[in-house]
Amino acid sequence: MTTRLKTTLDPNLYTQIGLDSGSLTMLGTIVHQLGEPGEYRGALHHGPDVKAVFFILADSNSPVAQVTVDLAGLEKAQSAAPASDAEEWCGCAGDSKDSSGGKRYAVNPRGYVLFHVQGGQGGYYVHLRRIDAAENDKGYDTRTLKNGDAFTAMILRPGAYSIRNTLTKAVAEAVVRYPIIGDKPYVPPAPVRIECTANGFDIKGRLDLGVGQGLVFNARTDSRIEIKLEKPDDGPRRPNRGRTGFQKVQLA
């Protein structure tokens, strides 16, 4: 008998260990409030490359409180677009395609823009800038979280982690416990909320987390959050699920 389980599991969920708010992957999101009405142009970066351009209209009359921008979806849509639309854009002022092409979103300026990566390996950051901004206005770059921004992270790999704000040099520790198969289904606990101030994180001691539990970093100062696996926890020894090959019989 053969059993089929066609999974929806993206391997990037478990192969990418660690998170960086400046290089967004599947397990992280960034929430940003535009604040000022106007039309914004976003450039999706993967390293030095601009992968896609999109537009967000911050309209005071808009009832939309949250707009969700799937960065992987943007890149995919852009790469599937005709060659004439898929030219490389710098995302800077004066680009001839400032107000043409690219996906468009609308949100209330007091609402929030959520950047996330639906699938794939990610590694994105976003540069947002008002179309009519002054030349010396460099706009907003997700590599530097601003006051009011939030970065969320979920960790699946059990182990000990270091958490650093690379801009304030604040550090913290977290431990993700190995999942226990019990009598009741495991549900990740409620997310832990952490304030990122100029004085560091407001965490007392080491964070004790469950697998998949959320972390919400509320930026109160310029921040870039990096979460790094220091010591993995592989849990109890598991039976070898692969083929064992030849093994010489050991006589007692």
Partner: protein
Amino acid sequence: MSHITIAASSNAFVQLFNKIRDNFTFSKSDSGSFGPFSASYSVAMHLEGGNIQLNNDDTVEVKHLKIVWDTLKVEVCFNLPGFCIGGWCIIPDPWNGCLVGVPKICIGGPICVPLDLSGLVSEVNDLKANLKPVYFVDPARTAGESDLDAEFAGHPNKWRIFLDPVFVHVDPIDIPASIANIIENIVRDAIENMFPVLPGFIVDALLAAIGPILDLVKGLLGIVGDINDWLTDLLMNTFDLLGIIETAIADYFAAKTPIYEFEDPYPVLDAGPGLIPVKIPIRNLASHVNSKEMIVTADVG
């Protein structure tokens, strides 16, 4: 008074019955979608045993006729919810709602659980039938063909005596309770073998999130009682396999395979050198049983 009367003792009748019983085979496959799950089956069966009783009320009764399931395969497919992360609130609103939430990521997918129950035995609890003579005109016989020509061509007309069931009652399959453990192991293996390289921590996170597998499966499929009873009900009632088999058995005995048949005209003397065979036409054939024997009467003419 009939011109011809022949009889077969109850022992001889049992032998006649056993012969047609052994020729019975049945196979079928089907599939269906039932909301939260889909299922398919493939069955093949034959009959064995049975206690035959001839009754004075002109009926034949067969009890405890075994149904041997040479093939009994069932596959149940459903969506395994697995383990979801995210979906929680990042920025709550002042009215206890949520302004911004994290998109949900779920690890899971459709799963098919194949169950091989081949070899199980159930039974036709009771089958009651009358004898029914039917005159059979061979469809291969051409218009204007004489009885003699038809015999030489190998397609003479016949009188056939069928067992015409009044009722057939098939018992549901008794699926053993151990099927629950089998299902549990299959689902666990499916999760563990999702990817050959899937790290142990993801497997354990999935298994932890799922909790007791049987509870999950029962919840997904909407099973209230025991899983073996549910499976029996799925096959026997939802797919109506019980009714299909009862009909197939009734149809087989009533119309497909006679318990005995006579050629018409009936050969009395074989052909000899320079002589054609001697055959007598049979009319008004009737068949009855009593507690001791089967009696067939007919007229010549």
